[in-house]
């Protein structure tokens, strides 16, 4: 492994940005946004530099490492603060800093009216730094720092407008559900150290072949728990919808393009564990399949444009997780979908932001309509993203999603059929709800309030959208042409044997397109033919109501965890007061009252004292007699 001492700048630049802006306070209000953007951009530049250097090296020498300092060293628990840049992490570095910089630029304009814009940019920089640490850390513990760091940044950004109690609650919910996932990561690290004696990627990779399947499975499952938390996968998905409380650029960057995909990174990064733990892998694909459907279904009933997109994100990440769970054959496709998704979903979120910007922060799509007339650029960029997510050839999503569906079918046996069908079905539903979003927002008759004056966004906002749209169009083709990405990542993953194909690729592609067509058609029939009301219909089926309630995810969590937790808390508080402290106070007052009772034995009558002495003397004689017998 080569040493490269420049890696630290990737992180240091945005981190410095965050610290300077936070410490400088209001003094930095004037230039803070520019400074932060520059920091992010220079980090991107460093990333590009590293990438170009990496390209110059032969495949097996591309990975570079940097040891910063000895971090924790106790006994055999040795963890260095070390960074690792390899073919996998460079993908993320470029995505994070690239998309991140675009979103910085976008935010300059988007947040221009907010008096706390500086703070916003500080948080964004903090996020970039933490996310880079996440993907660059050379051990699970370093990753963990980034992992919680992005959680913190996400918390701060979701709650950026925390003067609204609902937003503050949303941020808290996100943090806590993430912590549940983080716990999984803790477990994984503990198990890894206890069984393998190391927590670094390289060390574990080396030790894994000798380890028992059971312990690897345990580590794998715990990593999956971590991934579900951060990537909003079933069953820890409930926070993502609420996370839309944050400013829209945040949703684009953190809750679409980068942070939420950290779970996919984690699983891909730990490929050496999952490859040797089939049970864990099976769970991964199950989680992926469930979530991709779950998210898609939720998406069908959302009227809030951001929440619809959030549901879509959840679903798309489900695809990635599914891909990553399919083993060596799927990792590259998961990453590819991650990258393409990064472009088109970020683009669409920014588009949504642009719409909101023009509509006085209205998010209800039922209050939109016919916006393409007023926001042509937004319409076009959003539309390109739409085509990409649908998987219409030759847009980006077509290449990546299709490959995942195909690989799923090829997973073999019943499993393959079930997974493949789920993925296909998901594609159909995706087509339905995304078309719904398009129709409700950009076409039909206007349904907005009279006060609204829809207008196109300034260049600082539409330029990033345009760039991302270009990515949505081209990235899939570029990455999959000649299996570029697959080969690029190949050195990292185990070799995979040829699977027998269940269905020919062309069949899968056709089926997927058919499903998409059906989805689009249904949406057209339902929303384009008839007038859309500006309020959600009240009289709907039970199923619809359940879907509107996010498939009861919050109700379930509230009933099962929150209520029991609250009941437990109040019980314990009372127990502490009444039982434990009560016992202590009881001893005190019992002592006092019995002392008071004993006190009355002092009657004041000298004869009773004499009697006491007499009794004492007799008792003494009796006792001495007993003792000596």
């Amino acid at each position: 492994m080569q040493i490269n001492n420049g890696l630290v700048y990737l992180i240091a630049l945005p981190l410095a940005g965050a610290i300077i802006l936070l410490l400088a306070g209001r003094r930095a209000d004037k230039w803070g946004h520019i400074f932060a953007t520059l920091m992010s951009a220079s980090s991107f530049a460093v990333g590009l530099l590293q990438f170009s250097q990496m390209l110059a090296r032969p495949a097996e020498e591309r990975a570079v490492e940097q040891k910063l300092f000895e971090w924790i060293s106790v006994g055999s628990f040795q963890v260095d603060a070390g960074l690792l840049l390899d073919q996998l992490s460079i993908c993320f570095v470029l995505l994070i800093t690239g998309v991140g910089t675009l979103i910085h630029i976008y935010s300059i304009s988007y947040m221009s009216h907010d008096k706390d814009r500086r703070r916003f940019f500080a948080y964004l920089n903090l996020f970039i730094a933490a996310m880079l640490l996440l993907v660059l850390g050379n051990s699970f513990l370093n990753l963990y720092v980034g992992w919680e760091g992005v959680g913190l940044a996400s918390y701060l950004l979701i709650g950026f407008w925390n003067q609204k109690p609902a937003y503050a609650t949303a941020s808290k919910k996100a943090f806590i559900m993430n912590r549940v996932g983080d716990m999984g990561l803790s477990f994984a690290i503990m198990i890894a150290f206890a069984t393998l004696g190391t927590v670094s990627f390289a060390g574990i990779k080396e030790a894994a072949p000798n380890a028992s399947t059971a312990s690897l499975t345990a580590i794998g499952i715990m990593l999956l728990v971590a991934a579900t938390g951060k990537s909003a996968q079933f069953p820890l998905q409930a926070w993502l919808g609420d996370a839309m409380a944050g400013p829209t650029p945040v949703s684009a960057l953190i809750h679409a393009a980068t942070m939420v995909t950290a779970g996919v990174y984690l699983i891909t990064r730990s490929n050496f564990i999952f490859d040797a733990a089939p049970t864990a892998q099976l769970l991964v694909v199950i989680v992926g399949a469930i979530t991709l459907l779950f998210g898609a279904i939720i998406g069908t009933a959302k009227d809030d444009i951001k929440k619809a997109l959030a549901a879509s994100t959840m679903s798309q990440i489900g695809y990635m997780i599914l891909g990553a769970g399919l083993g060596p054959v799927g990792y590259a496709f998961a990453i590819m979908h991650l990258i393409t998704h990064g472009f088109f979903k970020a683009g669409m979120f920014l588009g949504a932001g642009s719409v909101m910007h023009g509509m006085d922060d209205e998010v209800n799509m039922r209050k939109y309509g016919n916006l393409r007339k007023f926001m042509p650029i937004t319409f076009v960029t959003f539309g390109l993203g739409y085509l990409a997510i649908l998987g219409v050839p030759p847009f980006a999503g077509f290449y990546s999603k299709d490959m995942i569906i195909e690989t799923a079918f090829n997973a073999g046996g019943i499993k393959g059929i079930l997974l493949g069908s789920a993925a296909l079905l998901g594609a159909g539903i995706t087509a339905f709800y995304m078309t719904r979003v398009m129709i409700l927002t950009f076409t039909g008759s206007p349904r907005w309030d009279e006060k609204a004056h829809p207008h196109e966004s300034p260049i600082l906002m539409w330029l990033p959208m345009a760039i991302l749209a270009i990515g949505s169009v081209t990235s899939g083709f570029l990455l999959s042409r000649g299996d570029t990405l697959v080969h690029w990542l190949e050195p990292l993953f185990a070799e995979h044997g040829e699977h027998e194909e269940l269905l020919k690729p062309i069949v899968v592609t056709s089926l997927a397109l058919l499903m998409v067509a059906i989805g689009v058609a249904i949406a057209f029939v339902k929303y384009s033919r008839s007038e859309v009301s500006d309020t959600a219909p009240e009289k709907v089926s039970l199923l619809t109501r359940i879907v509107r309630r996010d498939l009861l995810q919050d109700d379930f969590n509230e009933a099962v965890f929150m209520r029991t937790g609250q009941a437990l808390t109040s019980t314990l508080v009372k127990t502490d007061e009444i039982v434990i402290d009560g016992a202590v106070r009881g001893i005190g007052s019992a002592a006092l009252s019995s002392a008071g009772a004993l006190r009355t034995s002092q009657t004041g009558f000298v004869r009773s004292y004499a009697a006491l002495i007499l009794i004492g003397a007799v008792a003494l004689v009796a006792a001495i007699w007993v003792v000596t017998q």
């Binding site: 992992w147 206890a194 434990i580």
Partner: protein, 504 residues
Amino acid sequence: MNLSLTLLMALPLLGAAVLAALPKANALLAKQIALGSTFLVALVTIAMAVGFERDNINLQYVESHQWIPSFGINYAVGLDGISLVLILMTTLLAPIVVLAGWNESQNGRWSTKTFYILILVLEMMAIGVFAATDVFLFYVFFEAMLVPVYFLIGGYGTGERSAAAVKFLLYSLFGGLLMLASIIGLYVISGTQGGHTFDTQALSQLQMSSTTQNLLFLGFFIAFAIKAPLWPFHTWLPDAADCATPGTSVLLLGVLDKVGTFGMIRYCLTLFPEATKTFTPTIIVLSVISIIYGAFLAIGQKDIKRLIAFTSISHFGFITMGIFAMTSQGHSGATLYMFNHGFSTAALFLVAGWMISRRGSSIISDFGGLQRVTPVMAWAFFFAGMSSLALPGLSSFVSEFLVLVGTYTRYPVAAIIATFGIVLAALYILIPVQRALHGPITAGNENLSDLTLRERVAIAPVVVIIIFLGFYPSPLLKVINPAATHVISQMGFSDPAPTQLGGK
């Protein structure tokens, strides 16, 4: 003979003497003298820490004089890595507490100068209790420390302060007396085995029947468990912390309570290795209960000070668990945890104290929207909270994770249950953060003033230490590790080897 430690103890006493000679009226001068002397003590400690030979497992700065020769009692002090770190924590916290709580002596029953005399005497005794290598000397400091704290709580606190002070004192005295019984036992046994002595080293060589060992162990342990405080001996702490001034609370939770966990390492483990092994499972269970229980209770509190007190109970559960895990990670982690907890609790209590003194209430729901009114104070509180929930990158993460990892290798179930504490930690920190800092600005908070320069200067070193040690704990770990490993190996333990290495 090296007089450094005695000098170190003499300095605060000297400060106290100067204060005593001052006229009552000059409160400002009293504060300045107190700050000056604590600062000086901190500097001397740092110098001593620099001069400490890290890889030398023998006691350093050793000093021994006969005190009561007929009982074999010596004035004997010395430092190993563990005690050095704790003394460092104590002396660093002291000037911060003085500076942060500049005005907290105002509402006391007595004068400002008395307040600082008590603080300085307490500091001196805290140094002594950590430095003592003679069990009797340790006990003297252990008990005598109660007196200044008692008067600090009862004389300068708020609310039901005298009841809280009495509760604190009685709890501690009760534990202390049990320990006295055990110390007497040790003394008598040492008399039958080569002469009366209180030297920790010599006492650890005693031969005892297992029953005796168990009983004596319990005497020590219960005293320390009350002090630490471990569930179910904890109920004095919330009351005390609730009523004490923030500065006193910092010293109480940050320094005084550490004597309990320090005592477990120094006395329970080294003096009674066999009994320790017997009781370890029970103690691990108690620790885990403390972690979870403390966290739940913290979630359920309405008063910010009580909340912090309960978080500490949870944290002390971690420390105890780490100590009794008997692995080098657990042990070093626990010691580091003690240090870090001192600063994160200091941050929490000091900031909470500023919030309370401005708002005139310590009920969490009386606050709201502070982030918009007093951004710096809000940030400080948030930062302290993050440190308390062991956010990676902050010092408490390192120690908490070490404890968990170290425990897992020997007691996986305990470690797993304890890890749930980190989720609960997120709850007990974020709930008050949301209520106090976020949301609309509630009535009565509109005109609160932000942190003054003095307050910022006081909290800054805490922040710096927490962040620095989060990223670079090595300076401390290098000091702690040899001592911790020494304790473990003396007990006959070694770290469990990775279970899966060397083939299937």
